[in-house]
């Protein structure tokens, strides 16, 4: 069990090394000229009010530009609820405890 934990520690250190080297190569945090702020974000910021009428741009994206995404998200939530009910209420060991 100790050997296993040492292996896991080595694995975690490897993951940490990779993640920290990636962080060092990312563009500096909080600059307005980062590649994240490209024409897509500009379009959402400039056009959200006139195209959707929503004051909050996150609301405009979630409920208007990406409405299908939000709709299928509700299906994900519904499926998860269904899976929880099926798991807890059916089969051997399901239902009420003896």
């Amino acid at each position: 069990m100790r050997f296993r934990n040492l292996c896991f520690l080595a694995l975690a250190l490897l993951v940490a090394y990779v993640a920290i080297m990636t962080v060092a190569e990312l563009p500096p945090y909080g600059r307005p000229d980062n590649p994240v702020h490209n024409q897509v974000a500009e379009r959402y910021i400039d056009g959200a009010l006139t195209e959707t009428g929503a004051l909050n741009m996150v609301t405009a994206i979630v409920l208007d530009y990406r409405a299908y995404d939000t709709m299928f998200e509700t299906i994900v939530l519904f499926t998860a609820t269904l899976a929880v009910v099926i798991t807890l209420k059916t089969g051997k060991g399901g239902g009420r405890e003896q």
Partner: protein, 133 residues
């Protein structure tokens, strides 16, 4: 390899996310308790959310809401925040289903400790859960 620390400290939200991700990985790998494994998965998810939301931020920018800001304000990027709303829903769904599975395992085996579950499974069925077929 030169000037590693300044580049890391400029990106301190990403660094915090990386540390959180490693903590989550280590928790998932080392704790035999299923609830703690689930906690580790949730910590890893939080690290991903932090990475995305931090990538959309601008220093001195305001929240992307028209009503609260003056005309020349710089808005932060609303797209990562909107995408992470989807991610949070998936995270909640996965957590709920995993909790249901843990409750079911507890009803059958009387424990949430993975090592004891393997031992009891071997006692009852003679199968350690790893054999083929």
């Amino acid at each position: 390899m030169n000037e590693l620390w300044p580049r890391l400290l400029v990106n301190y939200p990403y660094l915090a996310a990386a540390i959180l991700f490693v903590i989550g990985t280590f928790t998932v790998l080392t704790h035999p308790n299923l609830f703690k494994k689930l906690l580790g998965i949730n910590i890893m998810e939080s690290a991903i959310f932090l990475t995305f939301v931090a990538s959309g931020n601008i220093r001195g920018g305001v929240a992307p809401i028209r009503a609260t800001a003056n005309a020349e304000a710089v808005y932060i990027n609303p797209l990562p925040s909107a995408l992470m709303l989807t991610g949070i829903v998936v995270s909640v769904s996965v957590t709920a289903f995993a909790l249901a599975l843990i409750v079911r395992l507890y009803r059958v085996y009387g424990t949430t400790d993975l090592r004891r579950i393997v031992v009891r499974r071997k006692e009852v069925t003679g199968d350690d859960g790893f054999a083929q077929g």
